[in-house]
Symmetry: C3
């Protein structure tokens, strides 16, 4: 009879472990951290030195550095230091800076490639988030990779969904960045189990 207890226990144990490892419940279907932020890019056109936040620094043969190149700007590289805001208002108090580069990389449509960092410095968030990926500008909603982070975003990874929120006369654009972290680590409990724990409040026990 006691053997039966063991058998019952075995199945309970099996159930507990398998529910934790093998069949995650649907209610866990969400990011471990979520942020929506905007950033604002004003490109230098030769006349707006005062408020430009980015500059063309490379261009294909025959193009110059104050007018985006023909052929869908193919070959332009821009360096930027753009304010990040919580809403879509350029004049809202910035919570950080978006810094890095974007390149226009296609001759027959607008696409760009992004390598940049959000440097956040507000009461809510202190730390950096590093992004990399292709940005097919004409697609309404497109995903890039979050490849790492520091500070509050220590070792985080995830996906950022980008939408063009405004585009004005090839001088100003505003991007809405929907940041979804799927791998969150606790800081400073920074060894490998931290991230499992963080993501699995209802797992195992």
């Amino acid at each position: 009879m006691e053997a039966r207890y063991s058998i019952v226990f075995y199945f309970l144990m099996l159930l507990a472990l398998s529910s934790a490892f093998a069949f995650p419940s649907k209610k866990q279907y969400k990011p471990c951290k979520h942020l929506v932020l905007y950033f604002h890019d004003i490109i230098y056109n030769g006349k707006n030195a005062g408020n430009a936040t980015s500059a063309i620094v490379a261009a294909p043969d025959g193009a110059n550095l104050t007018i985006l190149a023909g052929q869908f700007h193919f070959g332009n590289i821009a360096v930027f230091d753009d304010p990040i805001t919580l809403d879509n208002n350029l004049h809202s108090k910035p919570v950080g800076r978006a810094q890095g580069l974007y390149i226009y990389d296609t001759k027959n449509t607008f696409t760009s490639w992004l390598g940049f960092t959000f440097v956040l410095n507000s009461t809510d968030h202190q730390g950096t988030i590093n992004f990399s990926g292709a940005d097919p500008i004409m697609v309404k909603s497109r995903d890039i990779s979050i490849v790492g982070g520091t500070g509050d975003f220590f070792m985080h990874r995830g996906i950022a969904t980008i939408m063009t929120d405004a585009y004005e006369g090839e001088v100003y654009f505003r991007l809405r960045v929907d940041i979804k972290f799927y791998e969150c680590w606790l800081y400073p409990l920074h060894q490998s189990f931290s991230k499992l724990i963080h993501n699995s409040s209802n797992a195992l026990f």
Copy 2:
């Protein structure tokens, strides 16, 4: 006697867990996902505007944008939008585009540094794969990092082994990219255990 059952059970449990966690079997020695793709780069040289897929957009002092610089092209940055094919034929139907930049970064041999994305759009694969790393061109087979992905490659990480499959007259080159994912996530079951599950079909139970 029943205590003995428990002891037997304990050792079985120990065995089951330890085989899953502590002594992974040799047969698991493989990527969780594997792709081999080719991409084709035709650099603009001032005469091939029609079929060029990349352009020199930055060069060191004294060099121009239609001829790769002396000193092993040190200091050149090229922006590219290259077709990706399943085989080594430039004229095969593309399954996507390789987009980003490469730089030549050494003065005494050919090495480059790569930051680019595979944008795949075929019946087999929908999604992006983001790459970053050093490419010592003269080495037959070299590894770069896969730092993230989206769509079918949601949150994936891995290693890409690159081989120069052809190099013709400093205008055309073709790279074979052997993509090995070692961290695979299920989409949309995107919480942290997903990746464990995906990679461990024969683990635990």
Copy 3:
């Protein structure tokens, strides 16, 4: 009575599992791998072709490629192939090369953005480490992301803490890079549990 054995066993098992998964002890509070390295950058200024290790290859409108631009060098992109040493001596035997690019991306202070790779080739380390992140130069100690690695650093991730160890006349700088890996994978046992095992010598059993 034997049921009691099972209950005792259950609690022991619970304890064992929970100590491994849910309450990592403070003594695990450390990276799974740790390196401190230095790299040395000598930028080309038109006169030092012999020993320069980097070159300005892009600049904003109006600037040239042998003098870092005004406005805190905003808009300059430099490509580099810098020696890596174990100590702060430029003339020590290199253990590898730091290769990639840095950009100056702010108009009102010195900040840069980094995308580069350590290519290590010594008796101690064979492999590459890929870095990405914002570098607020005027801050004494700043963190960037380690987004991947190859060889000895197969699939590794972590944080690099950068300090400016020397800065001389806008021609030479030396960075101290404190590399802390928090996600280590065994090579070639490269399936997903490898990294758990590597990081948890005192966990589970």
